[in-house]
Symmetry: C2
Subunit: 246 residues, 2 copies
Amino acid sequence: MDMRIKCTVSYDGTGYSGYQVQPNKRTVQGEIESVLTKLHKGQKIAISASGRTDAGVHAKGQVFHFDTPLRLPEDKWSVAMNSLLPPDISVHKAEAANADFHARFDAVEKEYRYFIHLSSVRDPFKRNYAYRFPYPLDLEAIEAAKKYLIGTHDFTSFCSAKTEIVDRVRTLKRIELLQEDDMLIFRFVGNGFLYNMVRILVGTLLEVGQGERQPYHIMEVLEKRDRRSAGKTAPGQGLYLWEVRY
Amino acid sequence: MDMRIKCTVSYDGTGYSGYQVQPNKRTVQGEIESVLTKLHKGQKIAISASGRTDAGVHAKGQVFHFDTPLRLPEDKWSVAMNSLLPPDISVHKAEAANADFHARFDAVEKEYRYFIHLSSVRDPFKRNYAYRFPYPLDLEAIEAAKKYLIGTHDFTSFCSAKTEIVDRVRTLKRIELLQEDDMLIFRFVGNGFLYNMVRILVGTLLEVGQGERQPYHIMEVLEKRDRRSAGKTAPGQGLYLWEVRY
């Protein structure tokens, strides 16, 4: 009988056209599946992740699962996979899971972080790992605005207009702002996130921080349920899928 | 009359075959000179740096100078250069210098840092920016060994055998070990460094930290004046030219 393996993986999204397999594109899923297929001597192995990430978006703790007929000790899976994976993908942990475990449907909480480099001077070492923002920000206004977002809401205004999912109600449990030197970090914890949701939340909160929107205006944006009422989509390279909790 | 401009530049060395121009290779000097030549409408502009860096080696504060017939306000040079430079090179500062200032000959002190990622698990975000070292290290032994290196010595044993410079006497003013989470940072301050010197110093100190050499053995290595008596050359991606002082 096949065994189900759960893996935690981090990746630098810079060199990828996103997580999900696309024809003729370098994708994270494509790299991992090709390595697993090699380890299974050509037998095609498909993986299921907790969700997709876009081009340039990073992961510190993405989770996926797959089924295997091989009887490898669970801790050997990460060694075997890492020996074949490119250096910008690393499996941190592999463990045996219940046969009905599902990386996507069993996730109860996700954490994303968004890194903003507050600097007028560009930094070659941060260019792919943060969004450089050279304008002054009113952090108190952002703190005031985020209160309207926390809780259970229909987040239609904060997801890509291309989203096909009908139920856009999600619960945002926490939004935290941390500052470390010239880096401003947004931490988002919720039960689930819609397509582009974190990037649109960040883009909109930055407009509040610049005084282009009043904090209470966020309430109206939520009520409108229209993508056009929210702010810009912040760029992908600042975003990290940080952790998935089960 | 031409004006001499002094620039401080940082670069991510990952995508470069080193600092110095080489035919058909992407080099930091090549990128900067091509941008300056564009800004001078085709007039070839050459730059002189404080020293070279090898393939994959980074700089936080490399310094170079050039001469220009243009009368641009000094603070405009960095804006103009950065608008044309690739994102992995960034000019932090540009200032008018005396006509006899020389980035290489006037440097009185240089600081290099070497980053070691102490981890058995590879980290996609550190792969190009540190040397991953998964073995235990005796930091006290390294601290004991470094004392033999501080001061004025003939560092022939600690420079590439290919070095053509005859005078290999240099003064190492300071070697410091800093630990931040799983990152061990070596800080080297000296009046000048020979080719590959920091990388060979690090490689040799790591052998001391692993118990492969006794700390006092460093004294013998110095005395032998033979590259073969020292340890391995640590890889380039952990090294940063941190600062040049004048």
